[in-house]
């Protein structure tokens, strides 16, 4: 090999490349979440439908695209210890969720897949949860249903593709992501941390307590079950506009790029 080319090859071996992320682990996790244990050569009907809803580079990625802070940082920032409490400007609470407005937010986090749990049918979801999922009558059946069983009573996520009146949200690439779980069994399961530029409003929806969060994206995370203040690294992401609703035993969360009025109309139609 001529001298210059040999020198270039040697230089290449001495360069400071960015650290290679654990792609194998992340990709395997994404595939497991998609239920891809089945042979790719013979996808099930469910597996064939899924990429249309969650294509690898599109919606799937969008569901997946979550900005995640490092675990240590998350633990430090969000741990509800007195010293950190000083940085909280406002505090809002529902049974099942807390919302804090803080002066300082975590730094730019890493991109990680968002985990909604196992994909199931609506009927299967009802069987495996301690409640019957509420479906917005105004929208009809969801395009995809996911269940997570790690939280007491279970949690269901209903995904609706964008459509007129439900524009695509950057955080999820969905028209609506509707989450439901037993707020009475997991009183602090959802945590939200918002900057000063995010609007946070208390309101009532047919008498039920609710919180509307709009504007600058806020951080959203799940508290690890069994740990009152622990935050799992994988659960932290940025979220779009959100309506949190305390309906009886349930805590319902609607996320999307819609406005407050639209969110309230959808929430009112939950059956």
């Amino acid at each position: 090999m001529p001298e210059l080319e040999r020198m270039l090859t040697q230089l290449g071996r001495e360069l400071d490349y960015p650290k290679t992320p654990d792609l194998a682990g992340t990709v395997a996790a994404r595939l497991r979440e998609l239920g891809s244990q089945a042979a790719p050569a013979a996808p099930t009907a469910r597996a064939r439908r899924l990429p249309r809803l969650l294509p690898p580079a599109g919606l799937r990625r969008s569901l997946a695209l979550a900005l995640i802070a490092l675990l240590v940082l998350a633990g430090t920032v969000f741990a509800a210890v007195p010293g950190v409490r000083d940085a909280v400007l406002e505090f809002f609470g529902l049974r099942g969720a807390t919302v804090e407005r803080r002066e300082m937010l975590p730094e730019v986090p890493r991109v990680r897949p968002l985990r909604l749990g196992e994909r199931v049918s609506l009927a299967e979801a009802s069987k495996s949860l301690s409640f019957t999922p509420l479906v917005p009558a105004t929208l009809g059946p969801p395009d995809a249903v996911y269940v997570r069983r790690g939280v007491p009573g279970g949690e269901v996520s209903l995904a609706y593709k964008p459509r007129p009146g439900l524009p695509e949200a950057r955080s999820t690439k969905l028209g609506l992501l509707l989450g439901e779980f037993r707020g009475d069994l997991a009183p602090e399961y959802i945590g939200k941390v918002a900057p000063q530029t995010t609007k946070i409003e208390r309101l009532r929806v047919d008498g039920a307590r609710a919180i509307w969060i709009e504007g600058a994206p806020h951080f959203f995370f799940y508290r690890a079950p069994g740990s009152a203040y622990g935050v799992t690294e994988r659960s932290l992401r940025l979220a779009a506009n959100v309506l949190l609703l305390e309906g009886g035993r349930m805590l319902v969360r609607l996320e999307g790029a819609f406005d407050r009025e639209r969110a309230v109309v959808i929430a009112r139609s939950l059956r």
């Binding site: 210059l4 080319e5 040999r6 020198m7 270039l8 090859t9 040697q10 230089l11 290449g12 071996r13 001495e14 360069l15 400071d16 490349y17 960015p18 290679t20 992320p21 654990d22 792609l23 194998a24 682990g25 992340t26 990709v27 395997a28 994404r30 595939l31 497991r32 891809s36 244990q37 089945a38 042979a39 790719p40 050569a41 013979a42 990429p51 690898p56 580079a57 799937r60 990625r61 695209l65 890493r110 991109v111």
Partner: protein, 186 residues
Amino acid sequence: MEDRPLDESELVARAKRGQLDAYEEIVRRHQTIAFRTAWVITGSAAEAEEAAQDAFMKAHAALPRFRKDAPVRPWLLTIVANEARNRARAAGRRERLALRVAEERRPGGAVPSPEAALLDSEQREGLLVAVSRLSETDRRAIACRYFLELTEAETAAALGCARGTVKSRLSRALGRLREQMEVAGA
């Protein structure tokens, strides 16, 4: 119980049968070159990570169409490069590729292996400066072919051009580097 690493065609066969562990091993074997190739194309570690991740997802979906005995690396790199180029195009810009020598290779750092002696610090810095003066197109060609040690075909896939174009681009870039090195050495 297996006590030897599986060869790649066996891993592919298992992955085609739906064994996720086998596909995970394939990704593990190629993730560094895939990520670095995406990084050379996009100039951004974050974009490269997303591109490589999505590319491996697409490759998994395409496994049924992959011939069992075909080489895996060029196939994967083609998918990764496509994904990375699409992202760079969609973003409407590319980050300038920031090339630096690793800390331990810099003067004053530990000398970890005899290979380090192949380039003295002056040569290394001079060459890096010369490469950094190349156009983005030429720099990426040099980076793929020599820094990442991709084959000509892989470089063509990474850059989204014909092999002939790679040859002429490299020839032009090497010529410019020689000129610069001569000027610097004069």
